[in-house]
Symmetry: C2
Subunit: 128 residues, 2 copies
DNA sequence: ACTTAGTTACGAATAACATCGTATCTTGTG
DNA sequence: CACAAGATACGATGTTATTCGTAACTAAGT
């Protein structure tokens, strides 16, 4: 099956770099590598290479003004999260987002989480 | 990074076969191939190969009593869905299932879906 | 200008995935 | 028994993902 050229799902390694970018904002390879090194063991050139690939895929943009290029996420965290959820809903929940939500709620047994979700529902209902 | 030997996440192709198995129950390669062929173009031996790999990974069990082996999912659909959600929560929502749920709810604006979810919350609260 | 530290670019090794062709094995039927 | 149909097993190929070493380039200080 051919990969879609547009709307590309980030791989696992790519997503971990995007998480850094969303957290600390536009950054150089060095900054990203430093941040990622706090939790993982990854070589500097590995991070660089992944960013270059992400640039090819248009998952990030980069500012080449200075010698050390500055990378930024091409899409927002919210947008990407929604895409990933939509993808998972398609592949594991027969396309039903609500089935996905119910399963996820069933898993989160924490009382506080349930209350958080209920409040979100109330807010949504008011808007509608 | 080394793959975990136990608790393996099914790949995309594997998941599509699991979906068939959950739907139509324990089946031979032929039956699975027929079912999958309704929506995809996949060779018979491709399906066979994937099932063999899944068997190696213990994602399916198989009954070799008869010439045509009968494959069954090793884990339930619910269990697998929960695993995938947990995985996505870790990788894209900082480990927070409730953040995942909120994002998913935010995407599904349907009034009926919101009501369904609220009822599920009520039921959960009663149990707790 | 030369050296050095820091950077990007490039290519290669490895593993996982997905796909399929061919070979081999089994079993029912003529 | 022999054969044909249908099954599994095996190996090969091509692609993607992940990783990193090495080379080449750039800029800044001495």
């Amino acid at each position: 099956m051919a990969r879609e050229r547009s709307r590309l799902k980030p791989t696992e390694a790519e997503l971990s770099l995007l998480n850094v970018l969303w957290k600390i904002g536009p950054s150089t390879v060095r900054q990203i590598h430093d941040a990622v090194s706090e939790t993982q063991h990854t070589g500097y050139t590995t991070v660089l290479k992944i960013l270059q690939i992400m640039h090819d895929k248009s998952l990030v943009t980069r500012d080449e003004t200075n010698r050390a290029h500055v990378y930024s996420p091409a899409n927002s965290e919210v947008f990407t999260q929604s895409s990933l959820l939509k993808d998972l809903a398609m592949k594991a929940f027969g396309g039903s987002t609500s089935k996905l939500v119910m399963r996820a709620i069933g898993d989160s047994t924490s009382k506080k989480e349930i209350e958080d979700i209920r409040q979100l529902l109330n807010k949504l209902e008011q808007q509608a």
